[in-house]
Amino acid sequence: MLAFALRGVNSTVSQGFALREVSFELPAGYVMGLIGANGAGKTTTIRSLLGMRGVDSGEIELLGHPVPGPVALRQDVGVVLDRGYLVGDWRLAEVERTLRPFYDRWDAARYRELLDGFGLDPRAKVKDLSRGMAMKLMIAVALSHGARLLVLDEPTSGLDPVARDELVGILGDFLLDEGHSVLFSTHITADLDRIGDYLTLMHGGRVVHTGPKDEVLASYRIVRAGPEELTDLVGIELIGPRRTPAGVAALVRTEEAELLGRAVLVEPPTLEEIAVHIGASPARPGRREVAV
């Protein structure tokens, strides 16, 4: 079973930005990292997946149902966004009293247990929580209503390393149940090194690459060479080349890297290097820099 799937989704956001033919899917029981620079289309994709915005064309499937689907589908989806969406003057105990009537499987004991585990005081007000604490509150809410799919949009941006590490641990616990899945958008790729099973790279509203993490990592190579060494090769696309007086560093597809000569240093990239170079490449297809 698929946790979700997007097939050929097009959605116009503004005159200058749209999702174009966005397609990717996640089997149930896995974590997908949605990676891209700011403005790549991650949040728009997530809002489309959750049925919070309409799409111009294409199909979206969520937990076996088409989107927009039955309202009850939202019982199974926990949403954690980079911006809170609770009233600042609510106390954490009130958050529970407010949200509980909406969820059939709300577990009050679990909510209290999670608050306790996260070091959150039920008497504290939402507006007085730090960013990390607010993130934990949203996760506590999502886990208390028995969500099968967690959708997190930039949950780690602005968090310190300790809080980020805790969040990754919490997600690890959530995934102990085989039917649970996570979609995790971020531009901090280090978080996905630990828990990402699948990756989708987005740039300029398009999916650049999607698949199992190891496959995505194996698809690219970082090439480094002196200023003159990448000048006599034909047809090799340099993705997001970074030029310095000392030389050039660029991402290339693995099959193309094999064509490069010995003067060029070829290395497996880190996830961050892939994200950085793809983020630095032109957003529109057809404007490729090719080594000649």
Binding site: L50, A72, V87, W90
Partner: protein, 203 residues
């Protein structure tokens, strides 16, 4: 509990932390009209009830509750209708409290204001409130508080005031029109709710 009722309770919880401000305005209006208790209920309906009706929009705008409404397992339609349910419930609570205070004040001052004589101000209040929110709520549903606050609150208020002045509406002048005022308020609110549900789909 129905989806509309659950969301109406959510709206109540949304504004609950700010109840002190509402009580202060209520107290102020009572204080100003203490010597003319008959005018208390229409004043509350005209001044405080519309403020209470739009307060969930104000907080929603500030706290990003649009997202909460979108992720909760309730139909979008229920969220819109719950704004009306909240507005009507708060109106009812307000005029009930206002009527009780008006009767009490009248008794303290030896004035004749029995529950039957409150029928006229209550009817007038209902019609004014109904027309007011019938204009406000669809605008706020469609555009949100940040974009529609001025248009959504001043226009209906101005229209209602113009109607009161131009039609020479006084407690005495509307006696024979009371059933019509009840119907006018109900039709305005029902029609407005239908429009708002459609407009929500356009967001």
């Amino acid at each position: 509990m129905s989806a509309v009722a659950r969301v109406a309770v959510l709206h109540l919880r949304t504004v609950a932390p700010y109840r002190a401000q509402g009580l202060m305005v209520f107290g102020l209006i009572v204080l100003v009209l203490a010597r003319t208790p008959a005018g208390l209920v229409p004043a509350l309906a005209l001044l405080l009830a519309p403020m209470l009706a739009v307060h969930p929009f104000v907080i929603a705008d500030k706290a990003g509750l649009d997202v909460l409404h979108a992720v909760l397992p309730v139909p979008r339609r229920a969220v819109v209708l719950a704004y009306y349910a909240w507005a009507l419930a708060s109106f009812l609570a307000l005029v009930t409290a206002g009527a009780a205070v008006a009767v009490l004040l009248a008794q303290l001052q030896g004035q004749a204001l029995d529950p039957a004589s409150l029928a006229t101000p209550l009817t007038l209040s209902w019609a004014l409130f109904g027309v007011n929110i019938a204009i406000q709520l669809p605008l706020l549903v469609r555009f949100g508080y940040a974009r529609a606050s001025v248009l959504g609150t001043t226009v209906p208020f101005a229209l209602v005031m113009i109607a009161v002045v131009r039609l020479h509406l006084t407690l005495g002048s509307v006696q024979s029109w009371l059933p019509l005022f009840w119907v006018l308020g109900a039709v305005a609110v029902a029609g407005s709710a239908a429009v708002a549900v459609r407009l929500r789909g356009l967001r």
